[in-house]
């Protein structure tokens, strides 16, 4: 197993640094483009949510992202110490929501936001969110077809 943790302050521009790093590590591990895109996207969505919702854009807080790649899966855990996600949103993350079930011809009712959790739900094979009120953990797993070992 290969594991690396990324830690940034709650600054939106540093979310891109995590995205680029996750991308580079996944590429180094020989993962497919689809997996790389999906994992990078979900990491950026999760980190952005932590900064935006858990920390309400307040700076000086920490977001950490642990990425573990084994031959069978990519595992991501995003930790923040801000406001926990409301329970109905946790359910939406776990069970999925209807935000993307729009009528594509009904322009006025297209979603402009609220798509992040559903993107994680659709992209990952497992998504969960656990909190003790202080430490909030977004946990995601993507299965992959076994990769050749990279050194």
């Amino acid at each position: 197993m290969s594991t690396i943790r990324f830690t940034i302050g709650s600054d939106l521009k540093d979310a891109a640094l995590v995205g680029q790093s996750v991308h580079a590590v996944c590429r180094h591990m020989g993962l497919s483009d689809d997996v790389i895109y999906g994992v990078e996207l979900c990491v950026v969505e999760g980190v952005t949510n932590a900064i935006k919702h858990a920390y309400k854009f307040g700076t000086g807080h920490e977001v950490s992202i642990t990425l573990s790649v084994t031959s069978g899966q990519v595992e991501v855990e995003i930790v923040d110490y801000g406001l926990p996600m409301p329970e109905d949103r946790v359910n939406a993350l776990r069970q999925g929501s209807t935000v993307l079930d729009f009528d594509e011809n009904d322009r006025a009712n297209l979603p402009e936001g609220g798509m992040g959790l559903q993107i994680m739900h659709l992209t990952m094979d497992q998504v969960d969110y656990l909190t003790d009120g202080v430490v909030n953990r977004l946990h995601m797993v993507k299965h992959i077809t076994p990769q050749p070992e990279t050194t």
């Binding site: 521009k13 891109a16 689809d34 996207l41 969505e45 952005t48 322009r107 297209l110 979603p111 798509m115």
Partner: protein
């Protein structure tokens, strides 16, 4: 954000020069595009060929622009791997008119 803009008739081709469209720049993207329509551009072709990553807030900004239109049109081109995946995943590829290249968009829209 950085853009490269070219006008062809009443079509404005706006090429995004940033590699990433995410929360940090999405409201700037929206304001820029809405401004173009207020400046009487009939059609804006947003060329995303240099963009290698877009998140849900970037996508949301584009949807917001589309919803704000009072005539005119916003079309897209140059969607690479991760960006194309994002439109497909969210079914927004059914919402936007998407061309392979800016040239293809121009020739179709001027016809």
């Amino acid at each position: 954000m950085q853009f490269n803009e070219t006008t062809v008739g009443n079509i404005l081709v706006t090429r995004v020069l940033d590699k990433r469209i995410a929360e940090a720049v999405s409201s700037e993207l929206k304001t820029t595009l809405v401004g173009h329509f207020q400046n009487q551009h009939g059609v804006v072709v947003l060329d995303l060929s240099e963009v290698s990553f877009i998140d849900s807030s970037g996508l949301g900004a584009l949807v917001a622009v589309l919803k704000s239109l009072q005539g005119g049109d916003l079309v897209l081109c140059g969607l690479g791997g991760a960006v194309a995946n994002m439109f497909k995943l969210t079914r927004m590829d059914k919402v936007f008119r998407i061309f392979q290249t800016a040239d293809e968009a121009i020739s179709t829209l001027s016809a």
